[in-house]
Amino acid sequence: MTDNRRLWSGPYIIWSAGFILLPLLMVIYYGMTNGDGSFTWDNLAAFADPIHYRAFINSVVIAFGSTLFCLLLAYPLALILGRRKGKNTDILIMIFIIPMWINFLLRILALQMILSNTGILNALLEFLGLAPVHLMYSRTAIMIGMVYDYLPFMILPIYNAIRKIDQDVIEAAGDLGADGLTILTRIILPLSVPGVISGIIMVFIPSISEFVVADILGGSKILLYGNVIDQEFNLSSNWNLGSGLSIVLMLFIFASMAIMNKTGSGEEDMVSW
């Protein structure tokens, strides 16, 4: 039994050694050494450089904003779909998943065509006799791109959590005299918290390290933390500094996940994601 299990785990061990553990060790090695290979804290301390922490704040603000917007958009939708009876619900959920089948870069490039000065949106506004908007290459455009990209990651876990709530519980609440609003705030909302937390983690973490969207939709005018790391690797060829800054980001993500998990630990099990 045990031997059999170990045999099965072989591919996963190779996978996690080669693609998770090794890269992580390399990042830590590069991050804690300088060009000559001797130990240093400088690459981590470089976070205190105003350029770096300001870019970090930019990233946090944008990631926070897009997570919030995703949540505001996703929750009512997940609620409607999750409480909906009838067989078309699967098709409706499918509609929100289909964009995920398309490569996210292509979706961002498509957004670029919609938002640009002479793009589809402005053509539409012009057709309706309205003034054109200048959206492209701005913070707003970056946020739109991220919300568009990550929305399905927020919808699905919340939908699953709401779906799992026992119908009997809700009916019992109704029988005991709770009105619709009370059921929503005191039954559904608390019971869907694990889904909300999964959704937040799945949107916030990729958003905070995002740099491609900022390059394409932000016109490289707004420097995000991901851009700084990208620049250190690809432009300055300073892998040590790039790795050092990555470690700081990883620590931040670990810390925020720990906080999120603690918030959610009062609930039953987390919805798997």
Binding site: S16, G18, L21, Q112, Q231
Partner: protein, 367 residues
């Protein structure tokens, strides 16, 4: 019961960590010893691995080369010279032949990463106009390491319908009338070239004061800039998203073909003249075949095919002399002599200036 199973699982975990670490270390050693340790032709690999910019060759010429020589070519592409350098230094693939821009060629040459070429083996080397070889000496003093492939300039691509002023100086990029209609190059050297040349400095200056001043001008300009782009410039200008853009002559030609309102000019203060060259990196395993490939691309027929396909300036005399008058007088790809003489080739500035540059660039972007 429950506790024993937890304990069993935990010892299982410990047992798994050790092989995990061993595996990681082993693959790390394999990974790190990739390119630079071994010396050539030890393995049986027959492919010639060529590393070039994206969409930068007429693929048919590669097929012709394979057919004629029987050498199989593995053709790989990259986006920017920095990407190329990162991939090269990771050592994962032993490239036999690279094509890259002048300053990157020089950087690799100075770091000792290039092998000298044997021109005596190249029968069509004589097709290269000595005039361009002379210009190439700015980065390759003895023409020993690099063979020019294509060349061009950096200039301003503008939309005649949106720009009313005459465009002949870099100064126009600071004109507040074109706020949010200016696209700058999202590459460090090209962006700094604009204020440097405008103020009469050399593009190869190492003077920190001059560079700092250039950065200040770029900072002043930033509120007017619509975006910093590289490859998207062409499409944005074709679509009419911006009034003007700092861009390469090759992209400009393509954009002008697609939108007749566009014009390209190399400003009177001068600019950069760039060369993309073939060079053989030190991880090469098939040097002879690589030189054969370079030579094949210098032949009149193949050079002509690539010129027609890419439409950048060709250093190939045989091709140039065969062009019709109209193409030869196309100032976008062959700028007039008096402007070309104001243009400089990028030189690698050394680690210290390089660092200072990236620092200034980061500050500009963070503003």
């Amino acid at each position: 019961m429950r506790q024993t199973s937890v304990a069993a699982r935990q010892t299982g975990k410990v047992n798994m960590i050790l092989p995990l670490i061993i595996l990681a270390v082993c693959s790390g050693i394999i990974f790190l010893s990739g390119c630079h340790g071994r010396d050539g032709e030890a393995d049986g690999r027959q492919d010639l691995i060529v590393f070039n910019y994206g969409d930068y060759i007429d693929r048919e010429t590669i097929e012709m080369f394979e057919k004629e020589t029987g050498i199989h070519v593995r053709y790989e592409e990259y986006l920017t010279p920095e990407d190329m350098y990162t991939k090269y230094s990771s050592g994962v693939i032993d490239y036999d032949l690279i094509c890259s821009s002048d300053y990157m060629i020089q950087k690799m040459m100075l770091e000792g990463h290039l092998l000298p070429l044997d021109q005596s083996r190249m029968t069509s080397y004589g097709n290269i106009d000595p005039r361009y070889l002379e210009l190439c000496r700015a980065f390759d003093p003895e023409n020993k390491y690099a063979v020019p492939y294509l060349w061009g300039t950096l200039g301003i691509l503008y939309n005649n319908k949106m720009v009313t002023d005459q465009v002949d100086s870099w100064e126009i990029l600071w004109n507040p009338r074109y706020k949010n209609q200016i696209i700058m190059q999202n590459s460090m050297r090209d962006a700094f070239l604009v204020p440097l040349k405008w103020k009469g400095c050399s593009v190869n200056t190492r003077n920190k004061r001059e560079l700092k001043e250039a950065q200040k001008l770029l900072m002043d300009q930033k509120p007017l800039v619509e975006a910093y782009l590289v490859d998207e410039i062409r499409d944005a200008m074709i679509a009419g998203d911006a009034a003007m853009a700092v861009t390469y002559s090759g992209d400009a030609t393509e954009a002008m073909d697609a939108n007749e309102d566009l014009s390209y000019v190399v400003p009177k203060e001068g600019s950069n003249v760039w060369f993309d060259c073939w060079a053989v990196p030190d991880c090469c395993r098939h040097k002879k075949e690589a030189e054969q490939f370079i030579d094949f691309m210098n032949r009149k027929e193949t050079a002509e095919m690539n010129f027609d396909y890419i439409y950048y300036g060709t250093p190939n005399k045989a091709v140039y002399e065969d062009l019709d008058e109209e193409t030869r007088s196309d100032e976008t790809i062959f700028p007039p002599e008096e402007i070309l003489s104001q243009c400089e080739v990028y030189e690698y500035l050394g680690t210290e200036t390089d660092r200072y540059y990236t620092r200034l660039w980061k500050e500009l972007k963070a503003k």
